[in-house]
Amino acid sequence: MNYLATVVSFVLFLGMANGQAKGVLTPAEKAAATNCNTQANSLVRDMQNLATKVGDPFALQTVNVLRNHYCAILTNQGGVDKLAVKLSYNT
């Protein structure tokens, strides 16, 4: 199964203690970032709808945190605790 070749995932960084903005995005990275942004925005919208419907304070807080996300490209320049990312743009 050519599973690995088809995987596209998000990694949601909750802290940027070791993450650094590096360099300029290549066209392929920019396309990936755009795709990431589209999907992230869709996810946040769905979460907002649910949180509003149930009126749950923690859920609403979660959505507000997620709204300030960035999309970025993970690069292979560090270990798990020293991830290097190229920041693209926020929403």
């Binding site: 998000f10 909750l14 203690a17 923690f58 490209i73």
Partner: protein
């Protein structure tokens, strides 16, 4: 906070998320040691289920920010809490056929839980599609059936046992799954 699109899994720095992305049943996982959530978007999923999974994982983030004293089964206690939170959201949504799905599943599980006998998830639960709609993938169907089973089991355990015993039974249930 940053979403990172992992374009090429082969280029991912080695670590916990390598396993996450290689596990075909994984949708999301929070790693408190690196304060990071891995969330896969390559897996087709019902939007509501995807959202519930993210809320579940965010519960783990809140737990990491407000840690309890280390006790035996700490990870499982956190897991029970996250599921309880996820199920509270689901119950509040009052989805069509949700109560019917849970009551049917509770009736199936009741004797097993009372007699402490193992049971399997009903992966072909016909109520799953009534509640969540058409599934885009087999994994999605299994996720939905598992949520119905777990919610029903938790409710049945709560009705049969005192709170201290109930949490132990829920921990046993989760240990049996993971």
């Amino acid at each position: 906070m940053v979403f990172v699109n992992v374009k090429d899994p082969a280029s991912i720095p080695p670590g916990a998320w390598t396993q996450t992305i290689q596990n075909s049943n994984y949708v999301a996982m929070f790693y408190d040691d690196v304060n990071t959530m891995v969330f896969r978007t390559d897996m087709q999923e019902v939007p509501l289920l995807r959202v519930l999974i993210i809320f579940h994982e965010f519960r783990h983030i809140m737990q990491a920010q407000n840690p309890l004293p280390k006790v035996p089964n700490y990870q499982q206690i956190r897991e029970v809490d996250a599921y309880d939170y996820e199920f509270a959201l689901l119950d509040k949504l009052s989805l069509p056929h949700w109560n019917e799905a849970v009551s049917t599943e509770r009736a199936r599980l009741r004797p097993s839980i009372r007699n402490n006998i193992g049971f399997k998830t009903n992966l072909d639960d016909p109520n799953a599609e009534k509640v969540f709609g058409k599934f885009p993938s087999t994994v999605s169907r299994y996720n939905a059936a598992t949520i119905i089973m777990l919610r029903s089991a938790f409710a049945e355990i709560d009705s049969q046992f005192s709170p201290p015993l109930a949490i132990q039974r829920k921990i046993m249930l989760l240990k049996g799954m993971h």
